[in-house]
Subunit: 559 residues, 2 copies
């Protein structure tokens, strides 16, 4: 069964091996877990619904409301573990048709009730939490029952789905017909197609399949002022592309009910391969070269030295890894310097083989040591495991969070260093230790995403632990803005990043977004407070921007 | 020198060979050219400027205004040839900096003067013509002096240009540094970067380099309410993508002054190759297969049987071609059935060779006869010649126009037939003959663009010739809408396609576009009447839509 206070199915557990625990303790100090609240006591704290006269599709049941109150950000996590999940939505519903959604939005508009669209509940940026910025009741619309493959145009390779379909269900329905979408974000097990579109999600194999932006071919969005229908025309020069309005709209404009996506026949061959580089620079330059030469591999990732070491310990198998390390040392790759890259090859056998061959040739040019498919197999096997490992860590008293951005190549290494340093500085200021490591997860010809993980000890209680996280979040977000990166490459904006968005979009960009929201949602009922902060928050964000300028100068001076 | 009443440099002429003339006469009947007006008499018709007190950057000189009055649509062509180019802009200016543009927009706003942004003046959809929908004076802002390569970030492969740079100038500046953009629309010789962005242009090698949407990395647009700055972040999940607001905005939101584009090192190898298919279906299926397998060639085009025959005659060299035809016949390709495809291979030598090999293997699977690079060389040599040939045709009494769309693969052949039939039906209704042929010019995994050319005799005078064109334009546009295609895949909307846009964007989509325009241009000075028709025109367009439904049913019934 799905966990009420964490990630995924509660039958899945991946205990921390003793080497990993020892390793983490050596980095961040001995940890003492915080006590978890139990379900019953958390449930008791759900207040009565403020909706007296609910629409027939609504449930005001306390458990339903509790199970829809939080996403998967570390703030959400702490709330769930403490058993303080509020504020809660006043009701939850599961529409089954576009007509249901239309009716629900009309009803919510009449009643002046706020609406939170809900996909898989996997947001790590606060997209689906109930906010108490005003006194209006809140309804969460869970799209999980709109999950059918409605049409598959095999000639055009376009599949039409109910937008609430989750990753495994979507792939299973396509696989039965011999097709795949190929969108594999870390959250794939629970996140939904509509959620991916609404947050501009990117999957692990975006190098081959594209980001969700490239997959989203058209569809339907129900808005408070009507239905936006987008035809699945492959390309056009006819004014504004309406798909781009829906993408990244984070529930502020309406609810995506139906999505047409670009699919491909299930590939004949897929494999993942490990390559070690003697140092960061060579690995970085190699991925850049592969991306810029458009070599058609299906995935490119590169861990920095600290992530490479950490993952090797956390994976266990010290004896096997010992052998690998000795071999790599002989070949000039030393621990603490070396970086592991993961390369995917997907397609027809000959296509994948050719692409892999071209990629490995490049790796060798940059000093890479190809160690073959076994490590790739291991990665593939545990590719969706990270969110589960958070449990294991938590049980041992460690809190884990990640943050990410994307910048152009001329800025990648410096931004990575700045991001990691910001977390270390924040830790030092608080007098706590932190373990930080980073990988490049999505490579483009013009640059790369940068994905940083940090691990720290929980404090003596929940409020202090939350404060630690807030400090880390602030420091990391400010570092991204100061480096000119996007506040999010793949997680979206939600509430957590909303105050940093104006730095990226500019005053006019924010006006455009607000203007669209005002048009589509004149009553202001759609997911308020997410993506585009309300006026009060924006006053703060101006302060953030000026702070950033200070920080930016600081960084320039020290560089 | 650039022609005042047609395409390109007047030193370039490509006379019609006698076989071609005979061939065309056999298809559309003997033609008699219409008399061309001379420059002096056309100039005399330019009225006095309505701007009494011009901004210091403006020229109200009659010749400048005449040379900026018209684009390259057939309607523009007829106006230029007849010497009736009005209505005219009241002044023209050539800003040299973003600050100039800012000042000009501010001045125009204060004076309530309409503004037409002007790139290369190559629009075939009426983007840059002065309209007389209201009595306000009009200024054309020619961006041609903002043409410098301002920055080249070689690590990130991003070039920053003044947006008024034209194709050859842009490529020359990049070539000096070893780079290329690779955007080659038919209009490349004259059209500009800013124009490409504003109209969502697509180049002949979009299969490799992408459409302008994929090349446009960020930049600046001056709007009546301020400057929109878009950072060159490679990818993000941070709300609405502002690049997508600028793309296809057709001068309604502001003027693009600076554009950052994704470039690549000049390829080591580039070649184009001809392949003949025994019939349309096999060629169609082969291009579909290559596109869907993501074989990394750089160009894919397929002419239908009529275009294949016509081009062979129009190219001349009957003896050489006779030999080719005999060879093809032996291999099972018969005239009237066979279709020629053109395939580009670009990249490092080994990359291009591998891609070409994969593509040719596919061609053979679909019965294609590879005839090697000579035909490709010929195509490459004359790839920007078509607009010049219009002159040759005109001088012989033939008028030429094209129209284009994009649909998904399951709809490509039927749409092509419907488009061609619509032109033939319109001709029959008018009692004139028409020669029609088509090619697929831009292949996507989900579908293809469809590009149809038609040639007809000019009538006894200009007004009747214009009426013929209007009838063809109406018939062809209605056919596209009835087939669910986009009203333009690469030419844009302008005034010619504006009434067909609501069929594609829907009521909400049109509201979104109008809402953006109202935000960015509250005074309604930016290129009014283009892209989003004004209210009166939209009433007509609703009529068009209902007409389309009738037509749609008709087509369904006959299918």
């Amino acid at each position: 069964m799905r966990r009420w206070n964490g990630w995924g199915d509660d039958a899945n557990n991946f205990p921390l091996n003793k080497h990993a625990r020892k390793f983490l303790e050596s980095r961040v100090g001995k940890a003492k877990a915080l006590p978890d609240a139990d379900f019953k006591s958390a449930l008791k704290k759900v207040p009565e619904s403020r909706i007296d006269n609910p629409h027939p599709l609504l449930s005001t049941d306390a458990e339903d409301r509790l199970r829809h109150a939080r996403g998967q950000s570390l703030e959400d996590w702490l709330a769930m573990r403490e058993g303080e999940l509020g504020p809660f939505p006043d009701a939850v519903c599961w529409p089954e048709t576009s007509e249901d959604v239309k009716q629900l939005l009309a009803w919510a508009g009449e009643q002046n009730i706020k609406v939170i669209p809900y996909g898989g509940g996997t947001s790590v940026a606060g997209h689906i939490i109930a906010t108490s910025s005003d006194k209006r009741p809140i309804v969460t619309i869970d799209m999980g029952r709109m999950r059918q493959l409605e049409d598959l145009d095999t000639a055009s390779q376009i599949a039409t789905f109910g937008a609430g379909v989750a990753g495994p269900d979507l792939e299973a329905q396509l696989k039965a017909r011999g097709y795949t979408l190929g969108h594999y974000p870390q959250s794939w097990e629970l996140s939904t197609l509509g959620g991916w579109i609404a947050t501009r999600s990117s999957g692990q194999q975006s190098y081959r399949y594209g980001r969700i932006e490239q997959m989203f071919a058209g569809g339907e969005m129900e808005t408070p002022i009507g239905t936006l229908e987008i035809p699945e025309i492959p390309a056009n020069s006819a004014g504004q592309d309406m798909r781009e309005l829906v993408l990244g709209s984070e529930g502020r404009l309406g609810i995506i009910t139906k999505a047409k996506v670009r699919v491909t026949p299930k590939a004949e061959h897929e494999s993942f391969h490990g390559v070690f580089f003697p140092n960061w620079q060579q690995g970085h330059d190699c991925l850049q070269a592969i991306g810029q030469e458009k070599i058609p591999v299906s995935m490119l990732r590169l861990s920095n030295p600290e992530e490479t070491s950490s993952h090797m310990v956390l994976a266990g198998h010290p004896y096997l890894l010992g052998g690998l390390k000795r071999y790599l040392k002989l070949r000039g790759c030393h621990e603490g310097q070396m970086c592991v890259a993961m390369i995917g090859a997907t397609g027809s056998k000959s296509f994948a083989k050719t692409a892999l061959k071209q990629a490995i040739k490049q790796c060798k040019r940059f000093g890479g040591i190809y160690i073959g498919a076994p490590l790739g197999k291991k990665w593939e096997h545990s590719r969706f495991r990270s969110p589960y490992v958070r449990h294991t860590m938590w049980d041992a008293g460690f809190a884990v969070d990640t943050f990410e951005t994307c910048v152009k190549w001329s800025n990648v290494s410096k931004t990575m260093q700045t991001m990691e340093q910001a977390v270390k500085d924040a830790a030092q200021e608080m007098g706590v230790k932190v373990q930080v490591f980073t990988h490049l997860s999505h490579v483009y010809a013009q640059g790369s995403s940068i994905y940083t993980t940090y691990i720290f000890n929980v404090a003596k209680d929940y409020p202090e632990t939350l404060q630690r996280w807030k400090n880390f979040k602030k420091a990391s977000s400010e570092a991204i803005v100061a480096c000119g990166g996007t506040i999010s490459h793949q997680h979206g904006v939600g509430v957590d990043h909303a105050s940093y968005l104006p730095a990226e979009k500019g005053e006019l960009g924010m006006k455009v977004m607000r203007n669209n929201i005002q048009l589509m949602d004149p009553g202001g009922i759609m997911n308020p407070g997410k993506l585009v902060a309300d006026i009060e928050t924006e006053v703060d964000s101006l302060a953030v921007q000026s702070l950033d300028k200070k920080k930016q100068q600081q960084i320039k001076q020290t560089a």
